[in-house]
């Protein structure tokens, strides 16, 4: 193994970890909603697309960055609350599969609406960060990746602080723990759900911008949900920490697998290797790395 190129290995690993951050960002949107309402919101990808598309369309019409961001965020909040009111609330107490089907249908409605409003062409999105590699001790790291990682980390820190130190955050954690008890002690669940959907909308917006800048704002953007699923399987559907660690693991494994064992499969394994990892993981730990931390003494 003397001819093993460690520098190259590290470069691939870091690149993988950084792209994993982008997966985490998408996965966190799922976790927020799943934790509080037990719904696997398949429409998260469509929300991400809708957010990115709205933002790009606004900036293309000359709206400044900050204003476009604020407007898009407001729209996402309204959409989130509307979904909670019109789709999920009437379906309260229905089996999980019904809710899942509802969000699956919803994702097509949102995509259709996005298409109707903003058209179908691909948009470029320039966040003003150039994707130039720079050199850290011989390892080349993409500037954009670092930027994305910093944004994601900031976002996670802000969300964590919100849930830890605010009252509505405490309510959120209570609902995530035991919805029925939360109802019985007088927490206003609709308010908490609305907040969570707003937070998921913000996550969708940020993830949409980063992914949009990376691959262009187009309709395949909504398929990013499929990238988030292995992350969720690995990290657990109800853990924000799990989403982060899961994203990093998937990102790193994907890239390393592509570079080191891809050639034995004729290359291009990056697209499906995450699922292999997730499936293997399901056999060992079905609730994920951090899923459903059981704190109980009987």
């Amino acid at each position: 193994m003397s001819d093993f190129d460690w520098l190259f290995f590290i470069e691939v690993l870091v690149g993988g970890l950084l792209s994993g951050v982008m997966y985490s960002l998408v996965a966190i949107g799922f976790v927020l909603i799943y934790k509080t309402s037990g719904v696997l919101n398949f429409a998260q990808g469509a929300m991400l697309l809708f957010a990115a598309l709205t933002f790009v369309s606004l900036t293309e019409r000359g709206v400044p960055f900050a204003l476009a961001f604020a407007i898009t965020f407001a729209i996402m909040v309204v959409i989130g609350i509307a979904i909670e009111r019109t789709v999920l609330r009437p379906l309260t107490n229905k089996p999980p599969i019904t809710l899942f089907m509802a969000t699956l249908g919803l994702s097509y409605v949102i995509e259709g609406a996005a298409q109707l409003i903003w058209g179908t062409q691909v948009h470029g999105l320039d966040l003003g960060i150039e994707d130039l590699p720079f050199d850290v001790g011989g390892v080349f790291i993409s500037q954009f990746d670092i930027f994305a990682a910093v944004v994601a980390a900031g976002m996670v820190a802000a969300l964590s602080a919100f849930f830890r130190y605010t009252r509505i955050g405490l309510g959120f954690r209570a609902v995530a723990d035991d919805q029925f008890a939360a109802l019985a002690i007088g927490l206003r669940l609709p308010w908490i759900w609305a907040t969570v959907w707003a937070a998921a909308g913000l996550v969708a917006l940020v993830a949409g911008l980063l992914w949009g800048a990376r691959v262009g704002v187009q309709f395949s953007l909504s398929l990013i949900v499929l990238k988030a699923l292995p992350v969720l399987v690995l990290g657990g559907f109800d853990s924000i920490l799990g989403a982060i660690v899961g994203g990093l693991l998937i990102g790193a494994t994907e890239k390393l697998a592509e570079v080191y064992i891809g050639e034995y499969f004729g290359g291009g394994i990056e697209g499906w290797f995450a699922y292999v990892v997730a499936l293997a993981f399901l056999l060992v730990r079905p609730s994920g790395l951090f899923g459903q931390k059981l704190v109980e003494r009987v």
Partner: protein, 265 residues
């Protein structure tokens, strides 16, 4: 304390689950201000369903009150959201405690005060009051609730409910799975709350011995119907009640007929 003003009245309530399973057919009783009322009955008699109907929690479990009504201070509870009932002074401690396991004991208590949206100082004052009633909770305030003992969890659940400053505290089987001495302790605290602060209490219990010892009045449920009501002291001394609830009688009485002393062995 005059037990004349009716706080809660349950009038001929019938309830079903999933529009199919009838859980209650005819439950009637009242709770006056300042009273402790016990709701007794075997497993499946309808105690929990009755209490859930009182807090309007049945819809969340696909249940429905089909006949009769429940009035809390004149308000028809079926028309109010559970959160509104808590605000107007009716709060329930659920069967099985239902603490938020991954929150600390203190965080659990604070969640109980969130519905009132009081200020920080108000919540802090309410916390101190709860700690005064349950000193154990103060020691454990930073422990994760899921890691505390059953008795501590029950205290947490009661304390959490008290944080909303209720007028009527509803408890579902507070003795479940607890050691007799802990049960004793909890019922004593409840009685102190009742005597000193005028808190009215409605408690469902399978442990009729303890419940009848601390309650003013009791109603006995059987197969989803109220079959007997009376003063706790009187019920405590009736042989038929003793026989049936101490498990000495092989045959439960039919619904709607008072249990006859003759049934006693």
């Amino acid at each position: 304390m005059g037990h004349n003003e009716v706080l809660l009245s349950v009038n001929g309530v019938k309830a079903t689950y999933n529009h199919a399973i009838t859980a209650l057919h005819g439950v009637t009783f009242t709770v006056a201000r300042g009273e402790i009322v016990a709701l007794l009955g075997a497993n499946g008699a309808g105690k929990t369903t009755t209490l859930k109907a009182v807090s309007n929690l049945l819809p969340a479990e696909r249940g429905l009150v089909t006949e009769g009504n429940i009035l809390f201070q004149g308000l028809d509870v079926a028309t109010a959201k559970p959160a509104d009932l808590v605000r107007s002074g009716l709060v329930q401690v659920l069967e099985g405690r239902h603490c938020f396991r991954s929150l600390t004991v203190e965080e659990n208590l604070v969640t109980g005060g969130l519905g009132r949206s009081g200020g920080r100082a108000e919540i802090a004052a309410a916390l101190e009051k709860v700690y005064a009633h349950f000193p154990r909770l103060k020691e454990k305030r930073h422990a994760l609730s899921g890691l505390t003992s059953g008795g501590e969890q029950q205290m947490t659940a009661i304390g959490r409910a008290l944080m909303s400053r209720p007028r009527l505290l509803v408890l579902d089987e507070p003795s479940m799975g607890l050691a007799p001495i802990v049960v004793q302790d909890i019922f004593r605290t409840l009685r102190r709350l009742n005597r000193e602060e005028g808190l009215s209490i409605l408690v469902a219990e399978q442990n009729s011995t303890v419940a009848l010892k601390y309650a003013d009045r009791a109603t006995i449920l059987e197969n989803g119907a109220a079959v007997l009501s009376g003063d706790a002291a009187e019920l405590r001394n009736r042989d038929d009640v003793k026989a049936f609830y101490l498990g000495q009688s092989p045959r439960p009485a039919a619904p709607n007929t008072p249990i006859l002393p003759a049934i006693a062995v």
